[in-house]
C-alpha cells in the first residue's frame, strides 16, 4: 500500500463523512459511490487505475475553477446589464466561453503564438514530442502544435464565414416569407425543402466536385460570390423598397456596388477554393435557418401589435426590423451557435475526405486524416486535432444550451 492509495481513500472517506454530517445529500451520494467504485477499481486495476481517477477528478476540478474564475472575470469587466445576464450562466457555459475565448486568441494571433510556420518541415516524420515540439511532428515532420494553432484560424474562420452567410440568407428569406405569405412564401419554402431533401454531405461532395479543380480560380469564385450576394441583396431590396420604383433603382445600384466590394474583400481573405467551400456551406445550411426563422417570425406576425402596425400603414422593412426581429433574436442566436457546430463538423469532415481545405494549409480535419495511420501504432497524435474539434464543439454547445435555456423562459 503506497502513501498515494492511503491518502486517496482517506480523502474520499473524510469528504463523504463531512458531506453526510452537513446533510449535503447529493454530494454525499456522489462521493460515497465514488469511494465504493474505487474499492472495486483498486482491486481490479491496482494503483494506476486509482491514479487515473485522481487525475480525471483533478482535471475536472481545475476546469471548474478556471470556468468559475473566468465567469467572475467577465462579470467584473462587463457592463452592468451584461453582468446581470452573465451571472445566470452556469459553470458549463463559462467553460464554453473560456474555450471559445482561447481558440479565438489562438486563431487571431496564430503567427505570434505558433513556434514554427504551418508548412515548415523541421524534423523527421512522426518525431516524438521533445522540448522543441510540444506535441511531436506529423507525417512530413511539421510541428503539430503550430499546425493546431494555425488550424484554429483556418477552420474556425471558414466555419464562421459560412455560418454568417447562411444566416444572412436564411434569416432574411424566412422573415420575408413570414411577412408576405402567399405564393412567395410557398416558393421559398418548397425551394428550401428541395435543398434539404438532399443529404448535406453528399450535396457538398457533389458541389465541390463540380466547382473544385479547374473552376476553383479567382474569376469563377468572384462571380459565384457575387451571385450569392445578389440573391441575398434582392431579398433585402425587395423588403425595403416594396412598391416604390425609385427605391428599387437606388437599391439595386447600391446592391451592385456592395456585391463587388464584398466579393473583392472576400478574395483578399480567402483563396478561391475556400470561397467555394464557404458558398457550398452557406447554401446547404441556409434552408435550416430559413425554416426556424419562418416559424419564429410566423408566431410573431399574428400578434395584435403587428396588425396595429400594418393598420398604421407601416412598410414591411419597419415591421421586420422593429417589430419582429427584437422578438426573435433569442432563438436565432441559439440557432447560430448550433449551426456553427454543424458547419464546423461538416468542414472538418470534408477536409478529412480530402475535399475541404487543401494542403499544405493546416486544418483540424485534414490533420486527423494525415496522421490517421499512426493510430495503429498506439500513438495518440491523430487524436489531438480530433480532441480539439470535439472540445470546441462541446464548448459552443455549452454556451448555446445556456442561451436556449434563457430564451425558452424556463424558471430555475
Amino acid at each position: 500500500m503506497s502513501v498515494f492509495v492511503i491518502a486517496y481513500y482517506s480523502l474520499l472517506l473524510g469528504a463523504s463523512c463531512l458531506a453526510a454530517y452537513f446533510n449535503k445529500r447529493s454530494a454525499f451520494l456522489l462521493l460515497f459511490s465514488l469511494t465504493l467504485v474505487s474499492f472495486v477499481l483498486g482491486i481490479i486495476g491496482g494503483v494506476s487505475a486509482l491514479r487515473i481517477v485522481a487525475i480525471l477528478a483533478g482535471l475536472l476540478g481545475l476546469s471548474a475553477m478556471v470556468s468559475y474564475a473566468f465567469r467572475e472575470f467577465l462579470i467584473a469587466i462587463a457592463s452592468k446589464n451584461l453582468a446581470k445576464e452573465l451571472r445566470t450562466a452556469p459553470l458549463t457555459a463559462a467553460f464554453g466561453m473560456f474555450v471559445i475565448f482561447t481558440v479565438a486568441v489562438a486563431g487571431i494571433f496564430a503567427p505570434l503564438i505558433a513556434p514554427y510556420g504551418e508548412a515548415q518541415v523541421i524534423t523527421s516524420a512522426f518525431a516524438p514530442a521533445d522540448e522543441n515540439m510540444l506535441l511531436g511532428a506529423d507525417q512530413l515532420g511539421r510541428d503539430i502544435f503550430s499546425r493546431l494553432v494555425f488550424g484554429a484560424r483556418n477552420t474556425v474562420a471558414l466555419a464562421l464565414a459560412g455560418t454568417v452567410m447562411a444566416f444572412i440568407l436564411g434569416a432574411l428569406a424566412g422573415l420575408m416569407a413570414a411577412t408576405s405569405g402567399g405564393w412567395f412564401d410557398q416558393f421559398l419554402a418548397r425551394t428550401s425543402d428541395v435543398i434539404m431533401s438532399i443529404p448535406s454531405l453528399i450535396f457538398a461532395l457533389l458541389m465541390l466536385s463540380i466547382f473544385g479543380g479547374d473552376l476553383a480560380n479567382d474569376t469563377t469564385s468572384f462571380w459565384l460570390l457575387s451571385g450569392f450576394i445578389g440573391v441575398t441583396g434582392l431579398l433585402l431590396v425587395s423588403a425595403i423598397a416594396e412598391r416604390s420604383m425609385i427605391s428599387w433603382v437606388i437599391g439595386l445600384a447600391i446592391l451592385a456596388g456592395a456585391a463587388a466590394v464584398f466579393g473583392g474583400f472576400m478574395l483578399v481573405i480567402f483563396n478561391p477554393s475556400e470561397i467555394i467551400l464557404i458558398l457550398v456551406v452557406a447554401v446547404i445550411y441556409s434552408p435550416r435557418v430559413f425554416r426556424l426563422t419562418r416559424a419564429v417570425a410566423g408566431n410573431v406576425v399574428v400578434m395584435d401589435y403587428i396588425e396595429a402596425a400594418k393598420l398604421r400603414g407601416e412598410r414591411r422593412w419597419y415591421l421586420i426590423r422593429r417589430e419582429i426581429l427584437p422578438n426573435s433574436t433569442a432563438p436565432l442566436i441559439a440557432e447560430f451557435g448550433l449551426e456553427f457546430c454543424f458547419v464546423f463538423l461538416l468542414i472538418a469532415g470534408l477536409s478529412f475526405l480530402g475535399l475541404g481545405i487543401q494542403p499544405p494549409t493546416a486544418d483540424w480535419g485534414s490533420m486527423v486524416r494525415e496522421n490517421a495511420t499512426l493510430i495503429s501504432f498506439g500513438d495518440i497524435t491523430p487524436l489531438i486535432p480530433a480532441a480539439a474539434i470535439a472540445l470546441l464543439t462541446v464548448a459552443v454547445n455549452f454556451v448555446v444550451d445556456w442561451m436556449l435555456y434563457r430564451s425558452s423562459g424556463l424558471k430555475v
Partner: protein, 563 residues
C-alpha cells in the same frame, strides 16, 4: 338543507413566496381560512390579489416559481404543508378537485371527454371502467348537458365552451370529492352561457353537499354561488362575512369601493338632426376565405363624437365588423363610408390620412403591445409616422400623450410593456391610438380582460377623452354593464346579423327583441337570489343556448328587424 358543521379545511397564517428578480417576495402575506363541509366560499379580489394562489394552496400545491413559506394548511385533519408529495397527490382528484378557468385549454384535445372523466376513478380504483362511465353519464344528465349518454364520447373540440365547462365540473365530481376549487369557471363565457354553467354548478354542489371555493372577480356571480365571501387585496384578507351581510353591509372601504364600481355612467348623447355619419356601414356581407358568411347584411351608422356599442355573444360577428371597418377584411358585398365617401375596402389601398382617421384598441394589451419595444417608441411611432415629429417635438408629444392617459411621463418613458400592469398596458394602447390623432376608434373588448376597478378607470378615461377630443367610438363588448355606462347607441348582433339597434335609453326599456331580452336578463345582478328567481321565472331548461334556439322567428319584433 342542513349542512354539517365540521371543519373541512383550515388554513392558518398562510404565507406564499414567489421568485422574481433573484429574490423571494411574499405574494400571500398571512391569510386564514376556515371552510366547513358543504360550505361554498367565494374568494374575490383584483388580479394579483392571490386568489388563484390560495386556491392552489388548498391542494397543498405551490405553482412553479412559488413556495409555501409559512403557515399550516389542514385538510380534514391532515397537515398538507408537511405531508409528502405522494400523500398530497393521493388527495388530488379523489378528495380535492379543481376546475380551471379555461376548460378548452385544460382538457387534453387528444382524448375523448369521458376517458378523461374516468381517469381519476380508475386511477384510485374506486370504480370499474363501465361503472365510471355510467356514473359520468348520470352526472352529465344532472348538469343538463344535451345527449348525456353520447356527449362524453366526443373530443373536447367538438363541444361548445359552456358545455365543456360543465363537463369539467362533472369530471371534478367523478370521485365525489369533499372539496372542489373553482378558479374563475365562467369568466371566459358569454352571459347567456354563464347562466347555464352557474345553475349547473350550484345544483350539483348542493346535491352532493360538496364544499367549494369559488374564485372570481365578478361580484354578481359570487353573490349567486357563495355562502360566505372573503375579499382579498394584495395577498391579505380585507374582510369575510356571510354573503347577505357582505352585500348589504360591507365594513371596509375597499369592499365598499368594489361594490360601488358599477356607478359610472356617461350622459347619453343624441345624433345630430342633420349631418353625415362619420362611419357608415352599408349592407355589408363578409366571410373568411372559403368559409360561410360571417356577416349578413350589416348596416349601422356612427356619428361624430358618439359611442356606438356593438353587443352580442362570441361568434356573433362583432369583431368581424370591426375588421371590415378597419380594412383588414374586405367585405364581399356592401361598403363602408367615411364622412359620406367610400373607404377603400382593403387597408392596403387606403391613404395615410385615411388610415390615421381610424384607429383600434385591442382586448388583450399583452399581445397588442410589442414586449421588446420601449413605451416611448410605441407611443411615439404613430406621431412620428403620421405627423413627422422628430427629436424634442416628438418627446413633448409623447409626454403630452402620457399625461393624457394619466401616467407620469418620466416614469414610463423608458420602460417596456411587460413591466406594466394590465390597466397601465391598456392605457398605453389607448395612447398609441390617440397619437395618430384619429376621429374614430374601434375599442374591441377593451375592458373585458381587466378587473372591475381598473376597467372602470379605463371607461372614465375613454369618456373624458371623447369629450375633450370629440372622438367617435365603436365599442365592441359582451358586457352589458359596460354598455350601460358608456354607450350612446346600441347595436345588438346575433349570428352575423344586426337584430336590433337604437339609442341606449330605448334599448334598455321594453319591449325588446327576444334576443336582446335574453342578453339583458342573463346579466347577473348583485341580489343573491337573482339566479333562483330567474330560473323560477324562465324554467330550468330555458336558459342559455336552449333559450336562444327557442326564439320564435314569427315574433313581430323579429320580423321587424329582418325586414
Amino acid at each position: 338543507m342542513i349542512k354539517s358543521k365540521d371543519v373541512l379545511l383550515k388554513i392558518r397564517d398562510l404565507k406564499i413566496q414567489g421568485y422574481s428578480d433573484e429574490t423571494w417576495i411574499d405574494i400571500i402575506k398571512g391569510v386564514d381560512l376556515t371552510l366547513h363541509r358543504g360550505e361554498v366560499m367565494g374568494l374575490i379580489g383584483e388580479s394579483g390579489a392571490g386568489k388563484s394562489t390560495i386556491g392552489a394552496a388548498c391542494m397543498g400545491y405551490a405553482r412553479d416559481g412559488t413556495r409555501i413559506s409559512n403557515g399550516s394548511i389542514e385538510f380534514d385533519g391532515m397537515e398538507l404543508t408537511t405531508a409528502s408529495e405522494g400523500e398530497r397527490r393521493m388527495l388530488r382528484g379523489s378528495r380535492i378537485a379543481y376546475v380551471a378557468q379555461s376548460a378548452a385549454a385544460s382538457f387534453n384535445p387528444a382524448h375523448k371527454i369521458i376517458d378523461q372523466h374516468t381517469e381519476a376513478p380508475l386511477q384510485y380504483r374506486l370504480k370499474k371502467r363501465v361503472e365510471a362511465q355510467e356514473d359520468a353519464m348520470q352526472l352529465y344528465e344532472k348538469l343538463r348537458l344535451p345527449n348525456p349518454t353520447e356527449i362524453g364520447f366526443r373530443y373536447p373540440h367538438q363541444v361548445s365552451g359552456g358545455q365543456l365547462q360543465r363537463a369539467m365540473t362533472a369530471m371534478a365530481m367523478s370521485c365525489r370529492p369533499d372539496l372542489i376549487i373553482f378558479d374563475e369557471p365562467t369568466t371566459a363565457l358569454d352571459v347567456t352561457t354563464q347562466i347555464e354553467v352557474l345553475a349547473a354548478i350550484r345544483d350539483i354542489v348542493d346535491e352532493y353537499n360538496t364544499a367549494a371555493i369559488y374564485i372570481t372577480h365578478d361580484l354578481a356571480v359570487v353573490a349567486q354561488m357563495a355562502d360566505t365571501i372573503k375579499v382579498l387585496l394584495k395577498g391579505r384578507e380585507v374582510e369575510e362575512a356571510p354573503t347577505k351581510e357582505m352585500l348589504d353591509n360591507p365594513q371596509e372601504e375597499y369592499t365598499k369601493s368594489l361594490w360601488a364600481v358599477r356607478s359610472f355612467q356617461s350622459p347619453q348623447r343624441h345624433r345630430p338632426k342633420d349631418g353625415v355619419p362619420l362611419i357608415s356601414v352599408r349592407n355589408v356581407d363578409a366571410s373568411y376565405t372559403g368559409g360561410a358568411k360571417v356577416l349578413d347584411d350589416v348596416s349601422f351608422d356612427i356619428y361624430e363624437g358618439m359611442t356606438v356599442a356593438v353587443v352580442g355573444e362570441s361568434g356573433s360577428g362583432k369583431s368581424t365588423t370591426a375588421r371590415v371597418i378597419t380594412g383588414l377584411l374586405p367585405p364581399s358585398k356592401g361598403e363602408v363610408l367615411f364622412k359620406g365617401k367610400p373607404f377603400p375596402p382593403s387597408y392596403k389601398d387606403r391613404t395615410k390620412d385615411q388610415l390615421r382617421q381610424c384607429q383600434m384598441i385591442y382586448q388583450m394589451a399583452d399581445t397588442a403591445l410589442n414586449p421588446k419595444v420601449k413605451i416611448s417608441e410605441i407611443i411615439g411611432r404613430p406621431a412620428a409616422f403620421y405627423s413627422g415629429l422628430k427629436g424634442v417635438a416628438l418627446k413633448n408629444r409623447v409626454d403630452e400623450l402620457l399625461d393624457l392617459i394619466e401616467l407620469e411621463p418620466s416614469q414610463y418613458y423608458n420602460r417596456y410593456p411587460p413591466e406594466l400592469s394590465g390597466g397601465q398596458k391598456q392605457r398605453i394602447g389607448i395612447a398609441r391610438a390617440l397619437a395618430a390623432e384619429p376621429t374614430f376608434i374601434v375599442c374591441d373588448e377593451v375592458t373585458s380582460a381587466l378587473d372591475q376597478l381598473v376597467a372602470e378607470g379605463i371607461l372614465r378615461l375613454l369618456d373624458r377623452l371623447q369629450n375633450e377630443l370629440g372622438l367617435a367610438y365603436m365599442f365592441i363588448t359582451h358586457d352589458l354593464a359596460t354598455v350601460r355606462s358608456i354607450a350612446d347607441e346600441v347595436v345588438v348582433m346575433q349570428h352575423g346579423k344586426v337584430v336590433e339597434q337604437g339609442p341606449k335609453d330605448e334599448m334598455f326599456t321594453p319591449p325588446h327583441h327576444p334576443y336582446t331580452d335574453l342578453l339583458l336578463s342573463s346579466v347577473p345582478e348583485m341580489d343573491p337570489n337573482w339566479l333562483t328567481t330567474l330560473l323560477e321565472e324562465r324554467g330550468i331548461d330555458n336558459v342559455g343556448d336552449a333559450a336562444a334556439a327557442r326564439i320564435d322567428p314569427n315574433d313581430p319584433k323579429v320580423s321587424n328587424a329582418n325586414a
